[in-house]
């Protein structure tokens, strides 16, 4: 197998080349690794920020912004939070395949059957049952609650791990701020990057919630609002908000066909117009529907500073490539006698090119391994300085592959000019 043996021969030559100048190659690998590592760490952040968290239906899910504020202050802009009756009107539309209306809250949770009094501070999503199907929430045990009322809850994997060591806890009872609610479903580990259903208020990189409770139950139990809310009237508790101008609910709908969006828009506009005609608000009719990716963009989920830093890291990587190329040039210059000898005894330019490329591919492989380790370290370091990045500073498998490819490409790019130069010398001159 002459071709195979040539490939392994070239690999052997590359290893011998590394052994001849270990310090130089160490510097080359380090130079490229730092560049690729920084680039990869940035791409990991951008990837988490810019990725589509629910690609299978992101185009069909729409967040609803409405302007039904009862006077002209605040300004004439639709709000991302709705009051109870507006949100319920949305759910009544027969244009949608599904809908979810929710607000964020928080409670202390403990196993009602446990003798321990230890409680866990838990994030709550008080929601209509449609939330689970709309977000494709993955169930490990049990299922969603079927009504917005009732003392039933679904819990997330992390809380289930904390309280029930990850076992099937369906049927168990949790004491939540003194109320007993039964678990009907337990979710699998569920990471949404970004947390598309609630990217406002800087929550895009939060974890999914610990507890999902029926909306009406949460309101009746007076579980307070742990997110932005606006009110045109005074109220003492959330249980009073159903018929008041208190804006705190977010609404999402799923359309079976995105061509139904204009119809839904008309439905919302007609609804607003009816309220305006009834004298409930003086504002222009201006409702907005944003699909998942549009909504993430509106909320500027991709940090512009990270984007700018990524651009800087591209330039930095270019500098690293030039430096590595300069080091390789000196290495190839030192090896010109061997190049000349090989050419004299029968190696063609193509042979030498393949040999040089094999060496740079092997160099790229080593660079890739070191770069990924450095990248992981950069991410760990960035979390130390910016804790809010903790949930997105992750090297996903595709980033590992990308990092390795980037290392290979940069290694080859840095070797191209030195290889070209090495093959430019005349053979007889190289042998003198």
């Amino acid at each position: 197998m002459p071709n195979d043996s040539m490939f392994f021969y070239n690999l052997t030559l590359a290893m011998q080349s590394f052994k001849r100048a270990p310090t130089l190659y160490f510097l080359i690998i380090l130079t490229l690794s730092i560049g690729v590592g920084v680039m990869c760490a940035n791409l990991a952040l951008v990837n988490s920020m810019a990725s589509d968290p629910i690609p299978e239906k992101s185009a069909n899910l729409f967040h609803i912004n409405m302007n039904t504020w009862p006077d002209d202050q605040p300004p004439d802009e639709p709000m991302h939070i709705l009051r109870y009756r507006d949100a319920m009107a949305v759910t009544k539309s027969n244009l949608t395949k599904g809908s979810a209306v929710f607000y964020a809250s928080g409670v202390y949770a403990r196993d009602a059957e446990s003798s321990s009094m230890k409680r866990f501070d838990s994030e709550v999503r008080a929601t209509t049952p449609g939330f689970f199907e709309l977000t494709n929430a993955p169930f490990a045990y049990g299922s969603a609650f079927e009504n917005s009322t009732g003392m039933e809850i679904v819990i997330g994997d992390e809380l289930n791990q904390k309280i029930f060591a990850g076992k099937n806890s369906v049927g168990k009872t949790l004491e939540l701020d003194g109320e007993l609610l039964t678990i009907v479903g337990v979710l699998k580990p569920w990471l949404l990057r970004p947390l598309f259903y609630h990217p406002t208020e800087g929550r895009a990189f939060n974890l999914t919630d610990d507890i999902f409770a029926p909306l009406e139950t949460a309101i009746d139990l007076g579980w307070s609002i742990h997110a932005r809310s606006s009110s045109a009237v005074n109220y003492t508790g959330i249980e009073e908000t159903r018929d008041k101008d208190v804006y705190y609910l977010q609404a999402w709908v799923e359309l079976a066909d995105i061509n139904q969006k204009p119809a839904l828009q008309s439905y919302l506009d007609n609804y607003s117009q009816q309220l305006k005609d009834a004298g409930e608000h003086p504002l222009a009719i201006k409702n907005e529907l944003h699909n998942v990716n549009e909504w993430l963009k509106v909320n500027k989920v991709v940090d512009q500073k990270v984007l700018a830093f990524t651009l800087a890291s591209v330039l930095f990587l270019s500098v690293c490539i030039f430096n590595a190329s300069s080091l390789l040039l000196s290495r190839f210059h030192a090896a010109k006698f061997e190049v000349g000898l090989r050419r004299a005894i029968g190696a063609s330019n193509r042979h030498m090119l393949v040999q040089g490329l094999t060496e740079s591919v092997l160099l790229g492989f080593f660079t890739g391994v070191v770069a990924l380790v450095l990248s992981w370290l950069f991410l760990k370091l960035s979390v130390q300085f910016l804790p809010r990045l903790a949930n997105i500073a992750v090297l996903e498998p595709k980033l590992l592959v990308l990092g390795m490819l980037l290392a290979l490409v940069t290694s080859i790019a840095s070797a191209l000019y030195p290889i070209y130069r090495a093959n430019c010398y005349s053979i007889s001159a190289e042998l003198k």
């Binding site: 002459p2 043996s5 011998q16 061997e338 005894i345 029968g346 063609s348 042979h351």
Partner: protein, 253 residues
């Protein structure tokens, strides 16, 4: 075997044009041992580089073993060098951190031979120069003469049609130089075609033909000492000739 007609090689710098070879014509027949002599800077090395396809020429025709080399692509020239030419350099040009085996193996790698075929050829070539037992040595562990014998083995391993030697004894003391010359003569006696650039007039007198180069031109043809090879020893490959030479030595011993 080698036929050059009106070859010119001109080196051009910003201000100076140097005619390294000027209408140089030479025909070397199969089985000849030709010495190329001349003062320094006369064009001997340029001739050898052009003959060995290590350098281009600007004008003229050059035919090597029936193949006209003008207009050949790099791949084709490399293949010609690999298959038809064996080089022996003054400073051996061995790769210092490769074993003797790996040095001799180098040209065979580019021929696409199988591992077993390469091993056979390397062992055979080292045997011919009396270094079969030292294949694991590094060049630095051998004397200058032995290193030059390794270089000859490397040139022989590919079983070329012609050997080009550039002052092969230039770096050796007289004893080692004698050993190397004996090997070359033995190879030639058994049919090998050899062109050797040398400064040593004694070595030049030993061979079939001495070609003098002065100012890039052929100065004269002189036949000093016909070796009286039997006329039937023709058309052998160098390797076959070397084997025959070794056999002859054994018989004499």
């Amino acid at each position: 075997m080698l036929n050059m007609n009106n070859i010119s090689r001109i080196y051009q710098s910003d201000t100076i044009q140097t005619h390294a070879l000027r209408d140089f014509s030479l025909r070397v027949n199969e089985g000849e041992f030709v010495a190329v002599t001349g003062p320094s800077g006369s064009g001997k090395s340029t001739f050898l580089n052009v003959a060995g396809l290590l350098d281009n020429f600007d004008r003229g025709q050059y035919e090597l073993d029936g193949v006209s080399v003008q207009g050949l692509k790099d791949d084709e020239l490399s293949r010609l060098r690999n298959e038809k030419i064996g080089f022996i350099f003054q400073n051996y040009n061995l790769i210092p951190d490769y074993s003797i085996f790996d040095n001799v193996d180098m040209p065979l790698r580019y021929r696409g031979f199988s591992a077993s075929e390469r091993k056979r050829r390397v062992e055979q070539a080292l045997e011919k120069v009396g270094l079969a037992s030292r294949f694991k040595y590094l060049p630095s562990q051998l004397s200058g003469g032995q290193q030059q014998r390794v270089a000859i083995a490397r040139a022989l391993a590919g079983e070329p049609k012609i050997l080009l030697a550039d002052e092969p004894t230039g770096n050796l003391d007289s004893l080692m130089a004698r050993q190397v010359m004996e090997i070359l003569h033995n190879l030639n006696n058994d049919g090998a075609t050899i062109i050797m650039v040398t400064h040593d007039p004694d070595q030049a007198r030993e061979v079939n033909r001495n070609v003098q180069v002065i100012d890039g031109q052929l100065a004269d043809f002189k036949i000093y000492a016909p070796l009286g090879r039997s006329s039937e020893v023709k058309s052998k490959t160098i390797s076959e000739a070397a084997s025959a030479a070794v056999a002859e030595e054994v018989e004499n011993a």
